[in-house]
């Protein structure tokens, strides 16, 4: 009996900020190594061991960066929305930290998806930018990320800020499908989805394999950066509270 009282439960250990710093520390370096390895394999496949497209030539290789970052731009928002539920329902400090660390990553991946997309669009469509459905909704997603970051920066008290950001993130989670649908309604020029479809992928395996590896690599990259970002944020808060205590003692 006393044994179970001494040792906190699995979830408590996982989610206590101090414990988080302890258990996540040995994970960082191995994860970085694995991510780098998967990136090397993926890039080798993408740049060397995959065929050119018969129409687009070598520019098709931009896809191996473009599609994974576009996927992450949406995945990161999902991570933020789940964390937002954690903030509002359980008022959990680690959920706040997770939301805060994810926002700039999501904005960066979204910006990368737009940037690579426009690099790819110039030689294949003949224009850097076209007001078509998917590009426009990705641009709107970037604006939403930037708004969330602006809101984080506007609050001095991170606890209050976290709850406001969580509300905004959840309102956004309801709204983003509507934005996406309305923008599609407004203009459609982009090719329809070709990886995740009910009747299986329409790509040949020689292109699909490197693409899937790059998906894995970028997702790992996000996990590593998110973990490191969360560790930094926990430490930053700890420093802030130590400084407050120091100032109180001085007064």
């Amino acid at each position: 009996m006393s044994h179970s009282q001494d040792r906190p439960g699995f979830w408590t250990r996982l989610s206590n900020p101090g414990q988080f710093l302890i258990w996540s520390r040995p994970l960082v370096v191995p994860l970085v190594v694995v991510t780098a390895a998967v990136f090397l394999v993926g890039l080798w496949f993408a740049l060397v061991n995959s065929p050119e497209d018969y129409q687009m030539g070598d520019t098709v290789r931009i896809m191996y960066i473009h599609v994974p970052t576009a996927w992450l731009s949406q995945f990161v928002y999902a991570v933020m929305a789940v964390s937002a539920i954690g903030t509002l329902v359980w008022r959990h400090p680690m959920a706040d930290v997770s939301m805060k660390a994810a926002a700039p990553l999501g904005a960066t991946f979204t910006a990368l998806a737009l940037y690579t997309g426009s690099l790819w669009g110039r030689p294949t469509w003949g224009t850097f930018w076209e007001w078509d459905g998917r590009m426009t909704s990705t641009l709107v997603l970037l604006l939403i990320y930037l708004g969330i970051i602006a809101l984080w920066r506007a609050f001095e008290d991170p606890l209050r800020g976290a709850r406001m950001v969580a509300i905004l993130t959840l309102v956004g989670a309801i709204n983003i499908p509507i934005v996406k649908f309305s923008v599609d309604w407004w203009a459609t020029l982009h090719q329809p989805a070709s990886v995740l479809r009910a009747d299986g992928p329409t790509m040949p395996g020689s292109i699909l394999t490197p693409l899937l590896i790059m998906f894995g690599a970028f997702t790992l990259l996000f996990i590593v950066l998110h973990l490191v970002g969360m560790r930094t944020e926990v430490r930053r808060r700890r420093i802030a509270s130590l400084e407050r205590r120091l100032a109180q003692r001085g007064a």
């Binding site: 509002l88 709107v140 604006l143 939403i144 930037l146 708004g147 969330i148 602006a150 809101l151 506007a154 609050f155 209050r160 709850r163 406001m164 509300i167 905004l168 959840l170 309102v171 956004g172 309801i174 709204n175 509507i178 934005v179 649908f181 309305s182 923008v183 309604w185 407004w186």
Partner: protein, 222 residues
């Protein structure tokens, strides 16, 4: 409970009517955009009539963004919001009352002023009619988004600038379907479906807004 709800609406309208008229300033702003845009585009009546739906909606969009900060700001600063929070009326209903007042004071006058813009922008009567309907359907959604933005930023001293930036991306569907519900003539006629979708989005946002904004107001005060 119904009396308290009505009391808040009456009080806020009375306050707004007595203490200067923000509503008139907003109408002025709305009409001014309609006057300024032709200077940028040129006095070509055909072109203006073609762009009129877009101009009217942009004007309404900007006017509603400007008005966001007034939803909770005064009540927060003089402590009324704190009192309302400890009253018998649930915060969600307080927010709904504020939302109704906000629409009556900022959106409804714009709809009344739309005929002025219609004359200036060379709209034909059919287009004016469609514009008024689309504004009636769309502005409650804009007001609801504004209430959410106002609730989230009410405890910030600099909330006036942040709230429009937060709200703007989420308001894009309203702009799209709002203009879609007016425009006709080019391509397949989708004004009917756009009108229904616009109404659906507005209804949904009005349903969500009291809960989201009340949550934010409560979180901002403790």
């Amino acid at each position: 409970m119904r009396r308290a709800f009505a009391a808040i609406i009456v009080r806020d309208i009375r306050l707004a009517l007595r203490a200067g008229s923000d509503a008139l300033t907003l109408v002025l702003f709305f009409v001014m955009i309609g006057i300024v845009v032709p200077f940028a585009i040129g006095p070509d009546r055909v072109l203006l009539a073609q762009l009129a739906p877009a101009i009217v909606w942009i004007a309404a969009f900007l006017a509603s963004l400007i008005g966001i900060d007034r939803v909770f700001r005064d009540d927060f600063e003089d402590g009324t919001l704190m009192l309302l929070r400890h009253g018998t009326l649930p915060m969600e209903l307080v927010v709904l009352a504020k939302l109704i007042v906000h629409w009556l004071l900022t959106a409804f006058p714009l709809i009344l002023a739309t005929p002025v813009l219609a004359v200036l922008l060379a709209m034909d009567p059919g287009a004016l009619w469609r514009t008024v309907i689309s504004l009636i359907l769309g502005t409650p959604g804009l007001a609801a988004l504004g209430a959410i933005g106002a609730g989230i930023t009410v405890s910030l001293r600099r909330g006036g600038l942040v709230a429009p930036v937060l709200v703007l991306p989420f308001a894009i569907p309203i702009l799209i379907f709002g203009v879609g519900a007016i425009a006709s003539g080019i391509g397949p006629d989708l004004t009917g479906s756009a009108r229904l979708l616009l109404a659906a989005i507005s209804l949904m946002l009005v349903a969500i807004a009291p809960f989201a904004a009340a949550l934010a107001v409560r979180a901002g005060e403790d």
